[in-house]
Amino acid sequence: MSDNGILLDIKGLCVSFFTEDGIARAVQDVSFSVKKGKTFALVGESGCGKSVTALSVMRLIADPPGKIVAGEINFDGRNLLELSDQRIRAVRGNRIAMIFQEPMTSLNPVYTVGEQIVEVIRLHQKKEEAEAWDIATEMLRKVGISDPAQRVAEYPHQMSGGMRQRVMIAMAISCKPELLIADEPTTALDVTIQAQILDLLDELQEQSRMSILLITHNLGIVAERAEDVAVMYASRIVELSDCRSLFDQPLHPYTQGLLQSLPRLGFTGKRLYTIPGIVPEPLRFPAGCKFHPRCPIGCNDKRCQTVEPQLRLLDNGRAVACWFAPGYERPDDPKI
């Protein structure tokens, strides 16, 4: 067990999808670490590789066509990528749990929610059936479902989206995981319910001191809840920082753009800012810095167009990948 309070440490993760049209590099050289009991947020637009990163932690990348090409995922001091299938299954759902984006389809429609929760409890905790059902009911109560004893025997289609997401959470926490990966847990839900769910996650984190890897495209919900934030763009992390400094002083133009496009209280401008252009497809990444076609600074810069900047740890403890970020440039960098 590592002693620096780090639970999950990802180093140089590369994931590629080998399709008929070519190789899609969905995740390239991603490194970050999640501290015990803390929340780490992974932010980016859809298709930037954040979900793939999360699935890699669970080793749930569909193979074929996906494949983890390089990197390490150290969980509690052990590299998950080296574990046998059987051992990784003992980790999944037990020590690392995951909540998915679509509560409507993530539950199996042909089993009652109780059955689905009991399944995971019995699998990992070797409990008797009756006891497992008790735990399941308890879990449902914990995630704030009223009348859990009755709800436990209902089918997913009898519940609303928010309820189903609660069920997903109940299922995820039922084995008291050390790490909870929440992959866009609120995207598919109504705004009022979004807040409830996030509050629930906070509450649960406080109770059980688990770490959360929160994946979202919404920088707004990150602000109050995460300790550390990584911003991903086109399969790479472009900025990695603690939450406060990120919001105070974003370094990467992409982060800046994201922040500008957030609605703020008291904002009276005519229009919200939008980042021009669209996210490139993994099969057609531009050369150089992948953000340069959309970048207000780098769009005409020769170096941005040809050489891709790597993520670098700056002196202030933050990391960024932009030639123009203050303090980024090194003497041995190529000059154009």
């Binding site: 669970m58 749930l60 074929p64 299938d85 059987q86 299954r89 003992a90 980790v91 999944r92 759902g93 037990n94 749990a97 995951m98 998915f100 679509e102 389809t105 993530s106 539950l107 199996n108 429609p109 042909v110 399944e119 995971v120 699998l123 990992h124 089918y155 289609h157 997903m168 299922m171």
Partner: protein
């Protein structure tokens, strides 16, 4: 659920009436009649005498009455579960069916069991190992099997596998000549051996079809979110496949099962012809070609009833497997 079933059963009555009317109308509209058929081309009868005999027989079988009266009489008998007598055989239609059904059922049940026992695992394996060599080779094989005309296959099998030099199977019949003298197990083995070829011909196309269905369903479900959830729970691969993905793929399999029920009763004319098995298929075929109206009506009505029951059973089974479907919403 009970009210649903009762409602469905009640709905069946007009449908059944419709079926009998359609079959009755079609079979009576066809030119030719059983009497002149029974009398044959010659009979070497004097012209006047032939006409008399014909009239007498038409009267005997009730064919001299107007068609709607005939229908009413027939319906009256059917309402009492009496399917009237065969004109050609002078025996109750039910007896004829009873006689032929065991053979057809034997053939069809065996092939039915084989189809399900083989195609479900094959479909699953193929879906799990998608785009791998075995899947591709298997899919190609199945498509090829599906594209083979059964009479061709049947005749080729008889031509090559039966008789010298290979002499592996018997080309016709269901048992050896002296099978009656065999002890039970030898008799059973002999019977099974004789069934191999017809069963194969009955099986391969359905096998290919069902495997494709299972594979497609499995592929759909293996991509589903809840399968990902199940994997994220740490369930083993096979648990995920059987407990989660397959459970959801069962639905199309059930629908096919329902359509197979009447097919099992009906038999296959072509295969029965090639392998000289006289089952339901040939009975129906001969009845149609000899205008044995009562047999035609009997067989078609029973097939129709089974068909409707198959559909009903499919719907019920559907609702049993899939909790999202409730009886109240479905009509």
């Amino acid at each position: 659920m009970t009210t649903y079933i009762i409602r469905r059963l009640l709905l069946m009555i007009p449908t059944l009436l419709g079926i009998t009317i359609v079959v009755f109308a079609i079979s009576r509209m066809a030119p030719g009649d059983p009497v002149s058929l029974a009398m044959g081309p010659g009979g070497m009868m004097d012209a006047q005498r032939a006409a008399d005999v014909r009239a007498a027989r038409m009267k005997l079988y009730g064919l001299d009455k107007p068609v709607y009266v005939q229908y009413a009489i027939w319906m009256g008998r059917v309402a009492r579960l009496d399917f009237a007598d065969s004109i050609k055989h002078h025996r109750p239609v039910i007896d004829l069916i009873k006689e032929r059904l065991p053979i057809t059922l034997t053939l069809n049940l065996i092939s039915f069991v084989i189809i399900y026992a083989v195609s479900i695992p094959m479909g699953i394996l193929s879906a799990v190992g998608r785009k791998k060599f075995l899947d591709r080779a298997g899919s190609a094989m199945l498509l090829m099997l599906w594209s083979l005309p059964s009479m061709w296959v049947g005749q080729m099998l008889i031509g090559y596998l039966c008789g010298p030099p290979l002499n592996w199977f018997s080309p016709a019949g269901l048992s050896s000549n002296d099978a009656e003298q065999f002890p039970f197990f030898q008799w059973l083995a002999d019977r099974l051996w004789h069934l191999v070829l017809p069963v194969f011909c009955l099986t391969y196309a359905g096998l290919a079809y069902l495997t494709k269905q299972v594979r497609a369903g499995m592929l759909d479900n293996l991509r589903a979110d809840y399968v990902r959830t199940a994997r994220a729970k740490g369930l083993s691969n096979w648990t995920v496949i059987f407990h989660h993905a397959f459970r959801n793929s069962v639905i199309p399999v059930i629908t096919i099962m329902a359509t197979l029920l009447p097919a099992m009763f009906g038999g296959s004319v072509i295969i029965e012809r090639i392998f000289s098995v006289s089952g339901m298929g040939l009975l129906a075929f001969e009845a149609v070609t000899t205008r044995d109206y009562n047999v035609v009506m009997g067989v078609a009505t029973i097939a129709g009833v089974l068909n409707l029951f198959g559909l009903l059973m499919a719907d019920i089974a559907y609702a049993m497997v899939d909790p999202r479907i409730s009886f109240e919403s479905a009509v």
